[in-house]
């Protein structure tokens, strides 16, 4: 690793597994439940959050010495809101159908706890380059879980991936449907995401003994 020092590498890799924002810190759950019924929406949401967090962390980090601490939350909100509106406008311009599916949830990135959490906990106390890495790392950790949940929910709930049928045609009864398989309607509704996230947390904790809490 010539480009990144070991410490910097950890900034990106830690949130992917051992300090994952969703499964360990349990932040950003609302959007993980709401938009993961389809893989495509999950991917777009993940990319949007990576952009907002990477850029937002850098901006806050650059401003960290001039923001009066009493109004820092408001300043942070202004920064996130600006970035989120940019994402929203880009989506509306170039992927209108998709932006309709995502609906209010792009706008609600503003309220995603992960973003404010990293601004407060990291960007206000670190330089721009490290803040950038931290932002990208945490957003990636969020995105990975989102995409995993989206994958299982779309596969089991609709029998498709990115809208393409992978298990056969449910109406013409081909592929798996020919032998009586049916889509699981439970996977479409938001509570299923809670259970899928729960199972991911369960698997992660049983594989990593360091995460097991004292009873």
């Amino acid at each position: 690793m010539a480009i990144l020092s070991k410490k910097d590498t950890n900034l990106i890799l830690d949130p992917l597994a051992d300090n994952n924002p969703i499964t360990i810190q349990v932040l950003g759950i609302c959007s993980a439940l709401a938009i993961t019924a389809e893989l495509q929406a999950s991917v777009v949401m993940a990319i949007s959050v990576i952009f907002v967090m990477g850029v937002g962390n850098v901006v806050i980090s650059l401003l960290r010495n001039v923001i009066p601490s009493k109004i820092r939350i408001i300043v942070q909100l202004v920064v996130v809101a600006t970035l989120v509106i940019m994402v929203d406008q880009v989506l509306k311009a170039f992927a209108y159908e998709l932006s309709k599916t995502l609906g209010a949830f792009i706008g609600l990135i503003i309220t995603n706890c992960i973003i404010m959490g990293r601004f407060e906990a990291f960007a206000l106390g670190n330089g721009p380059w490290r803040s950038f890495l931290d932002g990208i790392g945490n957003a990636l950790g969020y995105g990975v879980i989102l995409i995993m949940v989206g994958f299982f929910r779309e596969l089991l709930g609709s029998g498709t991936l990115f809208g393409m049928p992978v298990l056969g045609d449910p109406i013409a009864k081909t592929g798996l449907y020919a032998i009586g398989y049916e889509n699981n309607g439970f996977m479409i509704i938001p509570p299923a995401a809670l259970i899928v996230v729960g199972i991911i947390i369960w698997v992660q904790r049983s594989r990593n003994k360091a995460l097991i809490e004292e009873a």
Partner: protein, 417 residues
Amino acid sequence: MKDKLHQIKLKYQGKKMAPAFNAIHTFLYTPNETTHSGGHVRAVDDLKRTMNTVILALVPCLLFGIFNAGYQHYSAVNGFPADFSVLEHFITWDNFWLGAITVLPLVIVSYGVGLAVEFVFAVIKGHEVEEGYLVTGMLVPLIVPIDTPLWMLAVAVIFGVVIGKEVFGGTGMNILNPALTIRAFLFFAYPTWMSGDKVWVHEGVERAGTADAISGETILGYLAQGNTSEFSYSLSDMFFGFIPGSVGETSTFLILLGGLFLIFTKIASWRIMVSAVAGSLAMGLIFNGIVDAGWIPEYSKFYGLMQFDFWKHLIVGGLAFGIVYMATDPVTGSQTNKGKWIYGFLIGFLSVMIRVFNPGYPEGVFLAILLMNVFAPTIDHYVVRGNVKGRMKRMKNATILPKPSDGKAEELKVETV
């Protein structure tokens, strides 16, 4: 036989498969282990006997369900017999045979898959196999429609046992009733197989859209569509259970007998049963009152179910079955006596309310019980707190005899909690 088993048990002791063997062993025989220290109360009703008693109370429902499966199928195909006699038209070999080949696979899959999950978890976690699934495995085939595809049942059982029970720590630790978790999963995952007018009669779904199409709508489904005219089922049909419905929940008469048996053996709580019946009657009376007062027009989509006589709610659908066998689950229900009254009453009350107000689910009893399962600990908490408060008040007002030490109040508080 018994000694041989004990010997095999010794051979397996300390091995990984030991829990799996012990489970089979103690199912039939009293274990040969004795406690080594202290005084213990010896009683015959351990957890396995409790479970077996409930299963015994369920067997009549299962047998009835088998005959009814055949009866409903042949009646839907050939038309209902004009002068119905139980011996001639109901208890026949044809009915039994058809019922057996459709119902028994459900029972086998339910037990096979559920116990397999239990055994796997016992071996992984290294504890004894828990008895909790014995009753669940019997309840599940009785509360699903007759033609539920077996793989769906298997998926639902795995989900229900793992998510409903094992993640919380196994039998005795679960928040939700596992059998109802399984049914709720089936209901939301595969709604086309769990509701409508086709699923309640064997082959109803397969024949849909052909010239031989048959259907058997449940009474609740019929009413939920706003129908008020008389249906072809008489009152005694409803009470004795010669109506379409899930496999084992149609016969209120046998459920009543099972309930009395459970109360007599002190397995199930009579408080929950009585208060749940009272709750459903109360809600039914309120709806009847609204109809009588003319507050609701006849074209309202709720009218059909609202004008349904309040006491008839008890003899159609799964309400009676839910009250007797599911609401009384000692793990997921309320523990305190006062709590049981509240818990049961709300189950009956909410069941009828969901029936009437939710056109999507003509039967609401499983949702009502699951909801109250979640609230049961809260109810208990407030009952206990109320009791503590009452006793503290009594202590305050009591004339305190000589030398009240300061720590006394604290001590009493600890005792009452």
